[in-house]
Symmetry: C2
Subunit: 202 residues, 2 copies
């Protein structure tokens, strides 16, 4: 069987298969696609992957991925420095940014507290957040970790840390409830319970 596949092909299939959500079948499909595609595509892809880490770093203020330190958002005087959305991952900051309705800045934790995966608070950028609140005159933290056990526990931990440091500021959490387009009939009961609890005046 191995005779049917040359080594450079196997090597790329194996590498692709290490990406999340890419099984061995998808990995071979991608590889054989690249074999047929113009050289320009493999060149672009190879170079972009090679340069990804060389040309990016974490912003020393908010820990988002950036080319320049501090990042464009932290440097932007138009963005409210007293309002910080605390997110798990850079993609979460991006999702909030896409709403076009957040005018504050971000703080990327790079994970959540997860005893199951052996991730404790010291591995997250929580100490850095406390320092930032102390020195930057932050007015409100919107804790935007994902809804769910780990995200909620991380939110509570941050609250306790800030209280422990004697920092009293407004802390909020993203609203929970029905997503747009939801169908009550098919909504899980935790979501529905949250929607009831958070009901708003008409």
């Amino acid at each position: 069987m191995s005779k049917a596949i040359p080594e450079p092909v196997t090597r790329l299939i194996d590498a692709f298969a290490r990406l999340p959500g890419v099984g061995p079948k998808t990995a071979s499909r991608l590889t054989y696609f690249l074999l047929r595609a113009p050289d320009e595509l493999s060149d672009t892809l190879s170079q972009a992957i090679g340069e990804l880490k060389l040309k990016t770093r974490l912003c020393s203020v908010c820990y988002n991925i950036t080319e320049d330190d501090p990042c464009d958002i932290c440097k932007d005087p138009q963005r409210d420095a007293t309002l910080i959305a605390v997110v798990e991952e850079p993609l979460d900051a991006l999702a909030l940014e896409k709403t076009g309705s957040f005018t504050g800045r971000y703080h990327v934790l790079h994970g959540v507290i997860s005893p199951r995966e052996g991730i404790g608070p010291e591995q997250l950028k929580i100490r850095e957040l406390v320092k930032r609140v102390q020195s930057e005159g932050v007015r409100e933290l919107i804790i935007s970790t994902n809804p769910g056990m780990e995200g909620d526990a991380t939110a509570m931990f941050i609250k306790a840390e800030l209280a422990g440091a004697g920092l009293n500021l407004k802390m909020t959490r993203l609203a929970r409830g029905l997503p747009t387009g939801a169908d009550l009939e098919y909504t899980d009961s935790v979501t529905l319970m949250r929607a009831l609890q958070g009901r708003q005046d008409l």
Copy 2:
């Protein structure tokens, strides 16, 4: 919005999104995964993509992808040179190879006749197949193009070409019928019709 994503990140997301089956969401997920993954993974992936085309070529006998020309299968004296499976793509040869029950050699057409996509017979390795049959004393061609209009038309075209060249040899087509594990109730009627037509003695 663009401010939230540094350029090297966007560039890789865009490159990933050019791969088949990879939408913009998957492309960002893969990119941010690589940002967090060990450098070794991006290095391996970047290098494997870069070397894929540099280190492979088409076998000048069977047109499969290979490192050395001719390929290992065409060079292997154990493989029956008089029995050739004609396939559309290298992955199809690989699929047959994985059965472990094919002892002949391959011929990769690199596509099928498809007026819809503007692919005519002259863009496929059909002329090369005719030459090969002429010079190599081939006993049987198993036309293993995909079942369906285009694969069937390509099979008929090859048959006509060989007849036109005065070549009389056994030509077969992979059996059509029920796949293993199929449920008659959910089988499409064309497949069921083929299974009836090709029914075998018990």
